[in-house]
Amino acid sequence: MAKPLDFKTAEDSALVRVALRGNMVAFEELISRHRDKLYARAFSMLRNEDAALDIAQEAWVKGWQRLKQFQGDAGFATWMTRIVINLCLDDLRKKKRQKSESLEELDEEWGGAERRMPYFTVNPTEGLERHELRQRIDRALARLSEAHRKVLVLYEFEEMDYKQIAKLMDCSIGTVMSRLFYARRRLAALLMSFKKERDSE
């Protein structure tokens, strides 16, 4: 007789197979494993706790509805974070429509002060503990423009390449490259200012 599946120790792929038969307990186990990662990714993109919670919840509902489309090529968590990313981008697009064009947007592609900034020879995060490093990066991300943050999160956390980002953001590879460049330079400047703040304390 086949042994019943132990949900706590089963692999994601096995839980997906059981969930595909309509078993919500298996799906809940998948949620409990990956809910923090999905929420963190939504928060990185949206910078708002409530909005991130709502989007993460919507992503799980969509995940359940589209479970048949999960091919298993990438891991389940990767598949789910792509759903979250798409929902975040939709959400940001909707909000952007309500905003007017600004000078800041020009800076995103052509660089503002970052164009004239000298290159840093000191690593602004040197010697930081991992937890502190993550907090500093998060603080700096919060101060980036939306377009800069999006491209950095997609490249550095979601590990997409230029082509994938361009497709997702509906822009050219050149735009992705320049946004990523100025986002990085701005981030470096912010991290450097945090370092100076800390050193002067």
Partner: protein
């Protein structure tokens, strides 16, 4: 250094260049101090940032989080099947009555009998919530560990249900 070169150096560090282009940029970085400085800055930043997303946890208990998702899933399924059923069979009402009313009536009878027969010292758990507006829905959540039942109303359109009290109109203590 011009922006084209700066972007090339970045693309080189991101492994986005062809072998030929990569070799060209590598030579530039090895010979040009400005290119070297930029490459060093970008490289150390990439190492610091990559994968270092803040580790956050969902600010809700596992049970509460799941209860909201489960409810949303069931609600979506319900409205989907309602849409499918709408306007198809002229006998749909009879089918509905046969499929739902009889079992529901049976269940109601069973519940009612249980209420009457059950000893009063250990009352069965009971929870029923109504909302007068179709736009308002409710989450019912029980946390046995803290002995708490939560009834949480929310607006289906995503807007907040008007919340009790504003900062200035809280009743003053007597």
């Amino acid at each position: 250094m011009n922006i084209e070169l700066e972007l090339k150096i970045q693309a080189w560090l991101d492994n986005e260049l062809s072998a030929k282009e990569a070799a060209e940029v590598a030579t530039l970085v090895a010979t040009n101090t400005e290119a070297q400085a930029l490459a060093a800055e970008l490289k150390s930043l990439k190492i610091s940032v990559h994968g270092n997303e803040l580790a956050l946890t969902v600010p809700e208990s596992r049970e509460f989080h799941w209860s909201k998702i489960e409810r949303a899933i069931l609600q979506a399924e319900k409205s989907e099947s309602r849409a499918e059923a709408a306007g198809f069979s002229p006998f749909s009402f009879f089918a509905w009555a046969r499929n739902w009313l009889a079992p529901v009536a049976g269940l109601a009878a069973l519940v009612a009998v249980l209420i009457v027969v059950a000893p009063s010292s250990s009352e069965p758990e009971y929870s029923e919530t109504e909302t007068p507006s179709e736009d308002v829905d409710v989450i019912h959540f029980k946390d046995p560990a803290s002995r708490m039942t939560i009834i949480w109303f929310y607006d289906q359109s995503g807007n907040p249900v008007q919340n009790p009290g504003s900062i200035d109109n809280v009743e003053k203590p007597e």
